[in-house]
Amino acid sequence: MKYKSQKVAYWFFAACMLLLSLQVIYGFIMGFAHMGFDGLHSIIPFNTARATHTNLLVMWLLTGFMGAAYYIIPEEAERELVSVRLAYVQLIALLVVGVTAIIGFHFNWWEGRKFLEIPRPLDYLVVVDVLLFIYLIGATIWKGKRYTTTSMVLFFGLLMTALLYLPGMIPTDSQTMDSFWRWWVVHLWVEGVWELIMGAILSFLLIKQTGVDREVIEKWLYIIVGFTFLSGILGTGHHYYYIGTPKYWLMVGGVFSALEPLAFLAMAIYAIAMAKKGGRSPDNKTALHWTIGCSILSFVGAGFLGFAHTLPQVNMYTHGTLVTAMHGHMAFWGAYAMLVLAIISYSMPIMTGRKLQDTPMNMFAFWTSNIGMVAMTVAFGVAGIAQVYLERKLGLDFLGVQKEIEVHFFGLILAASLFTLGIIAFIWNFIRFGLPSDQR
């Protein structure tokens, strides 16, 4: 570790591990409920489990991005963070707000708006907390010895993430307007500015692990984020097909979102090409696995499976079915969860000084969680396609269809168990690394 303040990241990553475990538990609650085992209904009804599951995801990914930024920025800017103490304050405040929101969900305190369920008073606290984070990162870059493309893209991505949280708070009485602004947040995050964060973290990881020249890697970073915005911004249109918005979005959204896989494809080719080009054998194979795996599965999950139902003619039938859950699971896993796990895998041996990165247990965690997630995606996909066919094409009753597809949720739970085994192994490794140490 070059700079002592980088080890702030450890606590952000530790928080990630905790939130991720909770997210998995709530996922199981929903999987079982879909199979008819809803014994927890009176304490944790489905809508509570659902809001908790998705908000924990968003929270641990953001916590992971923040940890990544606290780790990367000192090294890129070549100076210590401006304040370590405020960084801890920022983490604790974020966790307090997050946990309060999650508890609130269990007492019917929320905004029933998909992915943005956090109650309004807490929204303001989130904004304040994120502003503090942006300040800490921004000031460190500003006072740093150098501005790198990687740090600027990362900063811009984080800043835009904070700013784009605001449209979600525009008050409206219309369901259509509500959805319209909600997608400014959700879509422009995950298919826009989060990809900047992803590109920047990937390029940091590739620079460090492959030894390829920074100029080459950062040039490609520009191309990739260029593609991201070319397709992603107008690609928002794929959420505006059927919610009471003008018909031209079918054309605009269809054409531009069909281009979205290109950015992810470029990201995959770039990561693989750089890793090959580097030619030096990495001293952390696990981290390189997660890095390359992230670039490949983000293309499969976000790029390919997203494309599979983004065209308006297809989306007409798949909109609002389990097909969306199929795409959502692998997209978030491939693009963002694996990214955070990659930076954790990379930084842990450096922060703790313990060289435990290439144990068989680490490889087990990587392969088991990934195979588990692929199998989960297949289970969701089969359930989703069956639902589309029976409900949307044959016109069968909703509950009748749900009974027909219960068996696929059994498959889902088996796959999720495998996935969980991998996650447990990952967390076990995380714990084995121990606390960060100042000794190199």
């Binding site: 009804p45 929320w110 259509t176 107008l234 097909y241 016109g395 069968l396 009753d397």
Partner: protein, 231 residues
């Protein structure tokens, strides 16, 4: 090959162009939405319904406009599909409409809150959604006699009975199929049953439905002529 500064220019110019077009389209869309969604019908009552829909996170199980979770039915066309009586009863006590089935939270809504939600669903159902939700285009058409065509059935049958019972393969699977029920039960039995199922069979899963006298007369007549031979 492209230099780093060219790559940067590609990023900046591309982003600016796309963001600019997106903002222009947004301005236009905001102008058109009120017309397309009949904003004039968005009364104070409908707005209260939306607020209730939101504060209870109905989207956490249901989809509306195709958005939400996939645990409970799509609600975009629920006003047309189920009608006021069914929706109101469901909101009053979900368990009474689908006993022993997938559960919905009982929210203890007041009658006026229920009315607001119904008005909200009506407003949602009347929007122009560019063709969503699609009509099931492979639906098995009911073959034989015209009397059984979906459009000739009493509206209350299509809104309420079909939620649990099927006829000619279409409908719910909670209760028994109603094909040929007129051969198995006489009109007097059907009438008494509709008035209060629990009085006829104490452990029946079927609740006492919010039916008017007119509904019961119409349904009795309709069900009585569903003879076995027509299967």
């Amino acid at each position: 090959m492209l230099s780093k500064s060219q790559a940067k220019a590609f990023f900046l110019v591309g982003t600016a162009l796309c963001a600019g077009s997106f903002l222009l389209l947004t301005v236009d869309t905001l102008k058109r939405i009120p017309v397309q969604t009949n904003a004039k019908n968005l009364t104070a009552q409908a707005i209260r319904g939306k607020h209730l829909f939101e504060t209870n996170n109905c989207m956490g199980c249901h989809t509306i406009l195709g958005e939400g979770a996939y645990y409970a039915p799509e609600l975009t066309k629920v006003y047309e599909r189920r009608g006021v009586a069914f929706i109101s009863q469901m909101l009053r006590d979900p368990e009474s409409m689908y006993p022993g089935q997938r559960k919905m939270v009982k929210y203890d809504f007041t009658d006026s809150e229920i009315d607001s939600l119904v008005v909200f669903f009506k407003w949602i159902g009347e929007m122009d959604l560019n063709g969503f939700p699609p009509k099931p285009d492979l639906m098995v058409s009911s073959g034989a006699s015209g009397i059984l065509e979906a459009k000739n059935r009493p509206i209350v049958f299509n809104q309420m009975c079909i939620a649990c019972h099927s006829l000619q393969g279409q409908g719910g699977e909670v209760g028994p199929a109603l094909d040929g029920v007129g051969s198995r039960r006489d009109p007097a039995f059907i009438r008494q049953w509709l008035l209060n199922p629990l009085a006829m069979k104490a452990d029946s899963k079927m609740p006492k439905l919010p039916l008017t006298e007119g509904d019961i007369v119409e349904l009795t007549a309709f069900l009585s002529q569903l003879k076995e031979s027509q299967k």
